[in-house]
Symmetry: C2
Subunit: 220 residues, 2 copies
């Protein structure tokens, strides 16, 4: 009982800060995504592809969460866009407070698209609103087609599901119809795209989706 | 500050219960493993292979943790060994109390090997002692070779690292030397085995490792 109360207080405090973050993004017309997946599904690879394809057209910045290293931020830094790394020192998710503390490092008047790469974890990040506009969840083919029914909260809240590593489909028994059916049962309005960050297949649909969101957001 | 105190109290309470579980396992000469990995690394597939190969020789039982479904337990049940499922209803790890609550369902006088399949998560389960004898961590090839440096706590505590899905090595840029080097830097005494639950390659070494542990434990 006590545990639950502590946790609900933590979540309430988090939501208040998330609202402040959200207002700042909105005031500056920044479209913000919270990108979540298991460890090793390909979040950083997706960011690399996205930056390479979009950075001349869209002003981007990235916030990278990790438990310990700065490897992911280093991978992104070489593309020449603003990137900040949060090291959670063992914590299993980003929260709104961590995100808020990094915001002065960015000049949001010069940013149109802000992507937050969460900690690799299919459970805990789902509980913490960061102030993002939309959530994107990524699952990779070798993880198996049973992820939506086993981790439903993540899927319930996402606007888009990216199924990555489709280049490995011939070498696994992944059932594409099954995962789509299960995911849509949890969240019928979710869009689903099949991609491979390794071969580049399908990435264009993800880029188009991003542009579509940004257009809808700021022309209404 | 308050948050940290609450967490350390939770962990202390957990450790007390874990000690009770450990005593029960020891008194009954049950060798207990806490099996941990990301979602979809292949924990349940490993259990299926292990049971099929060992069940006529070793008396086994399995405890399966999952957020929601009973799919994993159903997969294991068909092999005819005792299996209990814990649904954490969204919680990101098993704790000693959850494990203790299931123990009356097992007849430990008739069990020599007890495997606890933890929630798919490379972060939170590391903090919670369940009363196990040894921890085994599994990483799969498509997750990437950077997992030890990004999630060091898990690796620091494990006795064995299983690198699964080596059948996918030809289709990825996974660096086997790098992951082994990084893992051994964190934990020089950890054993590392390469396996494929899909093709069966290397599984015999895992089975031999299990037998060796059980022999060493109960003949001294």
């Amino acid at each position: 009982m006590t545990k639950i109360k502590v946790y609900s207080n933590i979540l309430k405090a988090n939501d208040n800060i998330a609202q402040r973050n959200r207002k700042l993004f909105k005031d500056n017309k920044v479209y913000t995504i919270n990108l979540m997946s298991s460890p090793g599904s390909g979040k950083t690879s997706l960011l690399e592809k996205t930056i390479a394809l979009l950075k001349d057209e869209v002003k981007m910045a990235v916030l990278v969460g990790d438990l310990q290293t700065t490897n992911d931020a280093q991978r992104i830094e070489q593309y020449g866009i603003p990137v900040v790394q949060i090291n959670t020192d063992g914590a299993c998710h980003l929260d709104a407070n961590m995100v808020e503390s990094t915001l002065p490092s960015f000049n949001f008047r010069e940013i149109e698209l802000f992507i937050i790469e969460n900690i690799g974890n299919l459970v805990c990040p789902a509980d913490f609103d960061l102030g993002e506009e939309d959530r994107v969840i990524m699952v990779s083919v070798p993880e198996g087609d049973d992820k939506p029914i086993k981790y439903p909260v993540m899927f319930y809240q996402a606007k888009l599901l990216l199924i990555n590593k489709i280049d490995l489909l011939p070498y696994t028994n992944f059932d594409m119809n099954r995962i789509k059916k299960d995911a849509l049962k949890i969240n019928p309005r979710m869009r689903i795209l099949e991609i491979s960050c390794y071969t580049g297949e399908g990435i264009v649909y993800w880029i188009n989706w991003l542009k579509e969101q940004m257009k809808n957001k700021f022309t209404n």
